[in-house]
Amino acid sequence: VSDFTHAGWSWYVAIGTIASLLACLVLLVVASRRKPMASDESTGHVWDENIREMNNPLPLWWMVLFVLTVVFSLAYLWFYPGLGSAPGQLGWTSTAQWQQEQQRSAAAMAPLYARFDAMTHEAIAADSAARGIGERLFLNNCAGCHGSDAKGSKGFPNLTDADWLYGGGIEPITETIIKGRAGAMPPMAAAVGTGEDVSNVAHYVLSLSGSPHNALKAALGRPKFAVCAACHGVRGEGNTALGAPNLTDNVWLYGWGEQAVVTAITQGRAGMMPAQAERLTPQQIKVLAAYVWGLSNRPTGQAAQ
């Protein structure tokens, strides 16, 4: 693929390159031609009254090396891309080389992963070598958001607790890795009512998990929770099909307290996990999913450490 806006530029570059190379040779030949010399080993040139230019001939092999560089350049331009947009005889591209390297490394890794093909996720999670691979995959691909210890931070879920937005089974975890997730809570303030209503609902929400709250406001907010129940369920226990969080436990993805809940109700929340399918091979995803599952489950056969 050429980056030139017009084919003429390719010719311009190609002709300029060849002309420069030939000019190098011409210069060399012209400059090495025999020169008139004074008999005293000087060139007869005198500067600043008494500084004479002496004839100190360069070794011939220097010139040979110079010619070789020109020959090398011409050979290079013949075999590799360089003359304008000409692809070169070898048809080499950096993209193809990169793909080759990818294939080679995939082929080198294949036997490592082949062992896991026949294993269940639970067995992989119990395998210490697989956990090592999983940890490295996690650190390279997941830790950027979920943290090196997989405990996440504000807005990024903790993967080591038993609380799962989309369910903690092998299948939902695998699906999350492959497709990513887009969690969205729309702003609900208008549906809930006045600012006072929003505050009351917030206290009701806090009461669900037994968090400190104003019991009177919570009682007032309870009927208004109906609009929330569509996703979070009547009892506020969430819905893993929608990724709606459980409000009755002590896990607060966007922070705990009245203010955080009010913000969620008035502004909504949007969580986004990008799909990893194109970054990882199916075998890697299997090992990674087993590793993530193992973070909150004690796989059989693994002694507590």
Binding site: P57, S148, A150, W256
Partner: protein
Amino acid sequence: VNTPAPEQVISLYVSEDKIYPRAVHGWFAAWRWALVWGTQLLFYGLPWLSWNGRQAVLLDLEARRFFIFELVLYPQDFVYLTALLLISAYALFFFTAVAGRLWCGYACPQTVYTELFMWVERHIEGDRTARMKLDAAPWSANKLLRKGGKHLAWVAIGLWTGLTLVGYFTPIRELAPAAATLSLGPWEWFWTLFYGFATWGNAGFMREQVCKYMCPYARFQGAMFDRDTLVIAYDERRGEPRGSRPRSADRHALGKGDCIDCNLCVQVCPTGIDIRHGQQYECIGCAACIDVCNGVMDKMSYPRGLIRYATQNGLAQQLTQAQMWRRVLRPRVLVYGTILLALCVAFVASLWWRTPFKVDVVRDRAALARQVSNREGSGQIENLYRLQLMNATEQPQRYAITVGGVNQAALAWTSAGQAPREPLVDVGPAQALWVTLAVRVPFDVAQGLGPGAHPLYFEVQPQARASSQTVRERSTFIVPR
């Protein structure tokens, strides 16, 4: 002002005449051979030594571990290489200021391998005149045999040199048998052949051309000479007027100097110069002319040292050897010497008292800070760190990690998904391990600190032996707004 001289035509590039140095024996040649033996026994022999059940000197580029006898060096120890290069540079300055191109004349690989190759050449083709005759003769079975044999021997030395070089980077005890069955890896092939080719070409053909046209040191050393530097010098006052004379003749009666103009000093010179023209940039200071001239002086029953190590001042002011040596103790030499000594002491001391492990603290890339146990207002602020523990010993080590610098800061050992336990970390021999560590500070203490980054440090102490070595690595603890 110049009168125009008659013009002639000369090429700007010339094919230089081949030099046929005559074999030389003597005190300085013996020194050079001693250094050939010393450096090459070291170079060829070192990779074959074993230490702790592995190659004593192994620079494992792929694993990024550099084993040198008891030392296990990491790429982070590059500063030692820097120090080594500094020491080499100052040693060069020091020795050059004292006695000129000592390095070039005796120890430089170019000189050493040329010496080896010339030894082979001499034993197959004969000495100077025999070689010149052979080169001039038309091709014959004898010439083919001698030339072929010489190159066979040269190529063998070159290949062995190349293989030895590669043997510093891959275990040579596996490499040598692999080379015997021609089953080296592509890069092993490349470096063996490339370095072998370079040895063959430089020591067999390029020789003095390397010193004259390639070596940068040959060109900048002039800045390190002064008029009290010992250089190889022809005593013009004593030698001139030169000329041949019968051994029995009285040179004083003939009005001649000590130089009998036998031209041997030119014939032994590896760079093909005539030292009697005075100090020249081509002179590599090998002292071959001194050795050969001393032999001639002995035969003539003249005192030795017509060509000798002497300083420019020494020759001009006719100083005695003792007077010249006294001038070695001049400020330039003393300054170079002091710096050199200080560098050597610092180098040895820093290696001797080296901490055999390294620690690197990296704050987690994802979370700046987070709240934990966030109920009841009695929660904690948690920061996440990754510590890299690098074991620079060949024994498994256990390290204890503590944290300090922030009041009531405590470690929460969280190694992904596992139950909290003592922050003791096991690291295998010559292994580098990343561990993830959380530091927690009570909420009220954090509020007392105020939002922002607060200095914090980790201390790592090996548990093996009664080790008092502790490494402290600084980081920050962040309290969110």
